[in-house]
Amino acid sequence: MARDVDDVRPDPPHKGSAAEAVGQDPDLEELQRRHRGFVFPATLFTLVFYMALILAAAYAPGFMSKKVAGAINVAYLFALAQFVMTFIIAYLYTRFAQRTFDPLARALLAKLHARQGDAR
């Protein structure tokens, strides 16, 4: 059957393609598991922490307007905490990526290059 023009895909799997080279490599599954194991919970935490501020602003005005020091109230500190949270999660993610993810990805890539032989 002729391929429909709509069905053109950029790089259909062929011999020497990435998927072919990696097959059912357990290292790929491990890499994906580690990646998702970090980014999914970290995203969930980010969204929950952020929506907590938005919901508190909408539904807990009494709590938010409590003064902490002089004119500085809970609302302002909670907003600043979002900045601190962003910096900390970005730092933790980068540390995870450098210590855990990058070495695994590099090792797998080297293995794939070796398997593809002179494909590159």
């Binding site: 053109v8 259909p12 909408a58 109230n73 609302a75 999660i89």
Partner: protein, 513 residues
Amino acid sequence: MSERAISITLFLAFVVATLGITWWASKQTQTAADFYAAGRRIKGWQNGIAISGDYMSAASFLGIAGLISLNGYDGFLYSVGFLVAWLVVLLLVAELLRNSGKYTMADVLAFRMRQRPVRTAASLSTLGVSLVYLIAQMVGAGALIALLLGLSGDTAKIAAIVGVGILMVIYVTVGGMIGTTWVQIVKAVLLMAGATILSIVVLAKFGFSVNAMFNEAAANSGKGQAFLNPGLLYKNKTDLISLGLALVLGTAGLPHILIRFYTVPTAKAARSSVNWAIGIIGSFYILTTFLGFGAAALLSSARVRAANPGGNMAAPLLAQEVGGALFLAFIAAVAFATILAVVAGLTITASSSFAHDFYANVIRKGDRDEKGEVRVAKVSAYVIGAAAIGLSILFRNQNVAFLVGLAFAVAASANLPTILFSLYWKRFNTTGAVAGIYTGLISSLLLVALGPELMKDNAIFPLTNPGIVSIPLGFLGAWIGTLVSREPASEEMYEELRVRALTGLGAEEAVQH
């Protein structure tokens, strides 16, 4: 020299400098990869600064300062949402997108799908988001130039819109992505310098006591301590939640931000770009506290409102109050630079998508003639420039912050679901991608058309921001669309996608000359 003359001189200096950069960039631009992606030779930290220049728009600088100065704490929630959104980009999107795409957002969406339907849909939503964002910036530019140069009336606004439109088309058609990148870098440095100096001068007025500034802002606002609490701007709680969702989920779906990740050589460089951007953008949004509450403390709200009902002139007026005419001229020039860098980024995004997604892959069915593609991109930059000028003149009295909030809502509803499912869900397919994009795009635009901002008292939909309804609809459309059909080829190609996305295998590296 009068302050108007100083303003014009500084502004012209910026225009001449950026045209110089554009001319230099045109010499470096030979291939399609140079034009679309700056040859993938931009360093991570450089791209981080350029992203900041691409992202911090007139809405961030003028809009947020104005919202805080008139409404207190609620305005600061924009700053928070605009920053936290970057974690979604960093964690879920930046690196995988860098490894699996080439020039446009649609490259990733269409990687394992049927090209024509998905690229058509992605190209439409790219054009939609970019045009709304573009109109917001150009309307802002019109108001600014008219006010700052003391020109009154519609003619000045229209002349400013046309001038900005012509400049952005020159940056893009002559300088391509290399020129656009360096214009954004120069602008980001200027904006950070301007915001930092202004904040320090303002804080000095209060003996560097933030507490004293807050107290004075509360007293001077006429609203007392309520000015420091949530609730003055967002009376409708659901609308606040809707806006909050659009802001935090929109950034990862903004095409002009996503394509910046193609300008760096590796996924690691994409990661470091986001970290640099988070550092710069985070610092800037903290400074909005001093710009906004400082303006509330030092200016009367009547004066701010008289200059612009939306408060957009609060930061320039604050500069005039604390530093006189010269400082006003400097901050005004920074604001012009801010707008020009953002519109250049939007124009190259929209024209790249039209040429690469629609012309090359839909009309020409994927034949590889990259020289012809770049020619089409340049022609479409003229067309998009003309369309943006026309639409901006039409909407020249529309509220700028509202338009930007709308662009974020469309991006979060139409683009984000498909991007995430493409990268993380094996079962995802063409029907799902197309359904997700159109459901998100149409529902967000329709709900705005039926909402209070455009229909005033006759509004059928009660919220100004459609996010809380249209974002779940976008995800639902993509999910249901996927479940009603099976596409083994897409599932097979997912194996290819995830190997590339995770390891960087086969990802395009820097182009050597």
